[in-house]
Structures are given as structure tokens and as C-alpha cells.
Symmetry: C2
Subunit: 351 residues, 2 copies
DNA sequence: TTCGCTTAGTTATACGTATTACTAAAGCAA
DNA sequence: TTGCTTTAGTAATACGTATAACTAAGCGAA
């Protein structure tokens, strides 16, 4: 609008002051060598066919022009994106940022970046994620799928894209390059349920979500309840969100007859929502009602929530390690493994 | 399979039946047309030179083979990555996931993905981010830099990569494609300080971090304090983390002489750390000490933290819109604009 | 002299796509 | 018949890189 020169950024326009991104060709031209020589020097630490004088000259010219390798071109040529995709329901759920950092911690030193894809736990978004991955945007994937199962995921492995699933239980080895990392969700939930029973609770309800890891947690809870001669009591809401948790808790509180004395949220976010709803209803925690969660997101500590600790960072790091190994030559051949990390019961003040 | 012409063309023929990702060439071969025809049909909605019979055949073959366009090749050819980079200190800070979702909400419908780069607020990581962006990995950037200033960032704009900064105040228009979105951090901090004074506090300390938006917030606080004839009282720690907040609070509590009656954390995360330290020291909030924060991260509500609301999602969405507009033809020419969103004081129970 | 070896590179090609420029064949009018 | 238009495509090229295959010059040895 003002006095601005219409600058053509790149293209055959070739005007002098246009600071386009210089390519190896530009360096070659400026240094009086071929493009191949430039590529050689810039990529190999030892170049038998290029003497150090030329080497130095090329490097100096490259620095002088501010050369940066063109990533897309590299990807195309080498069929490697040097990117991991992280497919998760929602980065806003405080469980996942820690996982992502774990991923990054291992991926970055190995030269990989991390791309995030949110599915919102919806089947069509999960399908879109697969489609998107098949476009060669990532060399490997770490993912939590609520809906897709191995048959739908196998296509990735078949196209040479290893996948590490964040799972809720041990998976039998499979022939494809689909691995998993997990903590034993059923056992963890079982142990938490035992704790609640040991504290004297008999009417214990579980707030669960429709899909995802909540199912496995529900199994552990159910098993222990029945073992103790108590009847499982589920309230199901749609998502892993505070709103869902609060809604579920309100449904519990509206019940006529005997209310539960303890509520086990299938995830911390659900438990926190439940906690707030309980407080809003004038109940004290754990006096009037005990609340337990699952995940141990960072705020759980601040709020004194008794919960199951999932080592999110370590899970991410382990997943990344698995991918890095898979992507080494010949790594795709071995059978899919399931690797376990240990959970921990964090006893705080909400139970 | 039916026709045994499935050949492995990538990977030097190691695997036997490896179903490589089919390319346009493969489709062309199978459909008896040229690669150009395939590209035409698959990309244009109207193809005057390809009759609908051929069109249909090509599309069917493409679907039959499970064709997915190769993203790197597209990027190279079209010089468009269809990716936005989001450069932030730490995705683990609960302020940022919401920002990312706002970004995604606008970016995705426009066809852009979002890549996350964590800097940890360290200068060398920020420099690495720039370097990394210059490799043509993203078409546009949304970023929070603690250390880099316009001179160092200008290189992006000069190479045709628009940048939207998440800022703490209005920036004068500049000639480059560097925009910013912000809330008026100084005024917000000023207003919060006024609230604390209005509640009767006279000894009000601020916990701040060494770099980043904390500085601007400190200015607003200082101004109001001095205006009221009170002296500003800073405790500085390194990062925007709970540990830093707790450490700073402990330093305040260890002071001999008169303790502050209110503590203003330059960010919610700092305030939460301070809150925990205060509780651990046996103080009640707000009875013994009032605590205020800045950001309004999701847990602030759960913990009853009085704080300044930054519309994180909207900031992200606005940033993305700005980028999308910049990337439309001719969008890079206009001067860099600074766009403001409104903050809100969230009065809860910690003050 | 010829042969072989080393040095210092260069040339050529491929990755998969998008796009521009071109063309062969058919149809039709004059 | 020629000339022109339409139809239905194809061939060629470029994007920037990595790498395999090649070469020209110089030198020493047989």
C-alpha cells in the first residue's frame, strides 16, 4: 500500500535484490564448482575427492549466502521426512503435553521433529489421520486411537510406516511393525479400587467415557468390586473432559436413594470435573465423598487428587525410542512388541 | 493378488510383496494414460482435455491402487508446505495447548497443518528454531520468542515466511511481514494490581520470570504501585514453572520483617507454585496471603485462582487467520500489523 | 612407450509432482 | 483437396537434493 517495491520472492524473475533462498546451485555458481561438489561437501564429513581448500571455499560461500538445505527436496530425494507424527485425541488434555515432551526428548537428538494431529477422539478424524499419514508426511507415528483397530492401522505398517500405539494393556506380538507401550490399566484400576475398599468404601461409582482407555480401567474396577461382593456402578459420559466429569457427577448426586461414598474417575480430567461438581453441591472431599482419578496430570498434585500415575514422559520417550529403532536399516522386519512401564498409586488427600 | 505385476520399486527390492506407495506413474501405467493426465484429473475439478470416460477410469484406478499424493513431492514442486509452525517455550505450560487448538481450528479448514517447536525459552533453542524454519518446513509461523527481536526475526520475512508474534503489547507497524497479536499486558497487570489495592493490600509482591511477557506485566504493576504511593517488590526466578513460583514464594516467606499480604504471579503457573508453597508453609489463602495470577489457564478455575484471562484460543485463531491472509497472493506486501484482543479480570477466591 | 593410480572433480539421473507447450487424429466447411 | 477447429491427450521440464557413474589431468612405474 505504501511505497513498497513489489518484490518477487522467487521465480525466474531473477531480480538482483530479491533475497530468495539460495540453493546448492547458487553456491556452486559462486564458488565455481558443480552442484554435486557442494552437496558432497555439505553432507559428508570426509570428502576424498574434494581437497580442503575447495571444501573451505564452498563452506564459506554457503555461509556467506546464508544457505539452508531445502527440507522438502531432501525429503523427496531421500524418502525420509525426519518427522514423527503424534496422533492424539486432544493436546488440551494435560496428559498429552508431557507425552509429547517425552517424544521430543528422544526424537530431537535423533534428528526427528514432532508433528501433532488432534483427533478429538472421533472416528472420522482418526480415519483422516491415517489418510494424512499415507501421504508420506512422517516416518513414524505414535498414536492413541479410540476407534481404529489393527485391521485399519495395518495399512501404515504395510506402507513402511512404523506405528507405536499408546495402549491400555499388553498386546500379543504381531507380524507387522506395530508396537505398543502401555501400563497395565486394568491392574492399576484394580489396585485403586482395592484402596478405596480398604478405606471403608462400599458404594463406589466409576465415571467412565464412552471410548478409549476407560474401558480397560472399568474392567479392573469391575473385577475387584465383584471379588469383594460389591456391585459395580457406572456413569458414562461422552468425552474425557471436565464437563463430562461434572455432568456425570451431577447425575450421581441427583439420584434418589443411596449415593456412592466414593467416585473413581476413569481419568483425572473426569475426576476433576467431578470434584468441582461435588464442591458446587456443597460436599466436602473426602469427608462427604472421596474422589480418585487416573493419569496423574500435573494439576492432580496441586489439587490433592489421589490417582494412578502413568509415566507420560517415559511413555513418550519409550515410544520414540521404539520408532527410532524401527527406522534403522532392517528395523521394520521384526514382530510388533508390546512394552510395559509401571504405574504408581499416588495417595493424596481426595480419598 | 490378481495381477502379479506388483513390483517393489523402493528399497532396492529387499522385501518380496512390499506394496510400495503407488505414484501417479503407476496409475498412468495401469490406466493406459500419461502421468500428466493423472495429475490433471486428480487435481482439477474440470479437465477440458480429458473426457469423463477417461477421467472416471483414472479415478477408479487411483482408488483401486490406494493412491495418496506424495506430500514431499508436492511441497517441492509447489514451494508450499501447507504447514504452520508454532514456536513456543513449552507445550507443557497449560497456556499453550489452548493456543494451539485455536491455531488448528483456523488452519485445518484452510488446509494447513500445525507443527510444534518447543524452545524452553532458551536463546540457543530460539536460534535453532529460526534456522529450522529457514529450511522451508513451514509456510508461516506463530511464535513466542523470549530473546530474539525483530532484527533476528527479519530474516524470516525476507525469505518470504510470514510471522505472527504472540506479544505482550502493541507494536508499531513495520514494513515486513511480521504481525503480532496481543492483549495489553501492562494494562491488565495494572488492573489486577488496582484490584489488590482496592481489597486493602498495601504490601504486594510480584513474582516474575527473567524473560518473556513477565516484564511488561511488571511494568503495569510497578506503575500502579507507585501511583498509589507503594513500592514495588519483585522476586525474580528463572522460568515460568511451578518450581520457580514455589521457590520465589519461599524466598518471600523466609524474609524477616514484614511479609507481603498479597502476591501477584506474573503467570498462572508461577502463581500456582506460589500457592502450593504458601499452603505448605501453613498459610491459608486468601486469609493469610492473597494470590493472583495471569493467563487463566484451565486449572485456575478449579483452584479458584483470581487471574487475568488471556483468550488463548482466540489469540491462536487470530494468528492463524493472519497467516492465512498473508499467504494469499500479494499478502506479503502489506505492512506488519499489531492486533489486540481484550483481557478480562477473573475474580475468584484467592484474593 | 603404455599402464595404472591418484586427485579433483563433473555429468547424469532419480525422487513424485504440477504445469506449460506441444501434437496427432478426427471432424467439418469451403 | 486445403485449412481450421476441436478433442484428447502427450512430452518436456522444473522444483532442490543425493548419489552413482564417469572423466580429465598429472604422475610414477614397468
Amino acid at each position: 500500500m505504501t511505497t513498497s517495491t513489489t518484490r518477487t520472492k522467487r521465480g525466474k524473475g531473477r531480480d538482483k535484490a530479491a533475497p530468495a533462498r539460495p540453493t546448492q546451485k547458487d553456491i556452486a555458481l559462486a564458488a565455481g564448482v558443480s552442484q554435486a561438489a557442494v552437496s558432497l561437501v555439505l553432507n559428508k564429513t570426509e570428502t576424498p575427492s574434494v581437497p580442503s581448500a575447495t571444501r573451505t571455499r564452498i563452506i564459506e560461500v554457503a555461509e556467506g549466502l546464508g544457505y539452508r538445505p531445502n527440507h522438502p527436496a531432501r525429503m523427496l530425494r531421500s524418502a525420509r521426512t525426519m518427522t514423527f507424527a503424534c496422533v492424539i485425541p486432544d493436546i488440551t488434555n494435560p496428559f498429552y503435553p508431557g507425552l509429547v515432551r517425552g517424544l521430543q526428548a528422544v526424537a530431537a537428538p535423533a534428528g526427528y521433529d514432532v508433528l501433532i494431529f488432534d483427533t478429538d477422539g472421533r472416528p472420522e478424524r482418526e480415519a483422516r489421520a491415517i489418510d494424512w499419514l499415507l501421504q508420506g508426511r512422517a516416518d513414524g507415528v505414535v498414536a492413541t486411537f479410540f476407534h481404529l483397530r489393527v485391521p485399519q492401522l495395518a495399512v501404515l505398517a504395510r506402507k513402511g510406516i512404523p506405528l507405536v500405539r499408546l495402549e491400555s494393556r499388553h498386546k500379543p506380538d504381531g507380524p507387522l511393525a506395530i508396537d505398543s507401550v502401555y501400563i497395565d490399566n486394568a491392574e492399576a484400576a484394580a489396585e485403586m479400587t482395592r484402596l478405596l475398599i480398604a478405606r471403608g468404601h462400599r458404594r463406589i461409582a466409576m465415571i467412565q467415557a464412552e471410548f478409549g482407555p476407560s474401558q480397560r480401567r472399568a474392567q479392573g474396577y469391575s473385577a475387584v468390586m465383584r471379588e469383594a461382593g460389591l456391585s459395580p456402578d457406572f456413569v458414562t459420559d461422552s468425552a474425557y473432559s471436565e464437563e463430562s466429569g461434572a455432568r456425570a457427577m451431577n447425575r450421581l448426586l441427583e439420584r434418589r436413594g443411596e449415593r456412592p461414598t466414593a467416585v473413581f474417575g476413569a481419568s483425572d480430567v473426569l475426576a476433576l470435573g467431578a470434584m468441582e461438581a461435588a464442591r458446587n453441591a456443597g460436599l466436602s472431599i473426602p469427608g462427604d465423598i472421596a474422589i480418585a482419578g487416573f493419569d496423574d496430570i500435573p494439576v492432580a498434585k496441586l489439587l490433592g487428587l489421589t490417582t494412578v500415575r502413568q509415566p507420560e514422559f517415559d511413555l513418550g520417550a519409550l515410544a520414540a525410542e521404539t520408532l527410532v529403532r524401527r527406522l534403522q536399516p532392517g528395523g521394520l522386519g521384526s514382530p510388533g512388541k508390546s512394552r510395559e512401564l509401571k504405574f504408581e498409586i499416588m495417595k493424596r488427600s481426595s480419598v
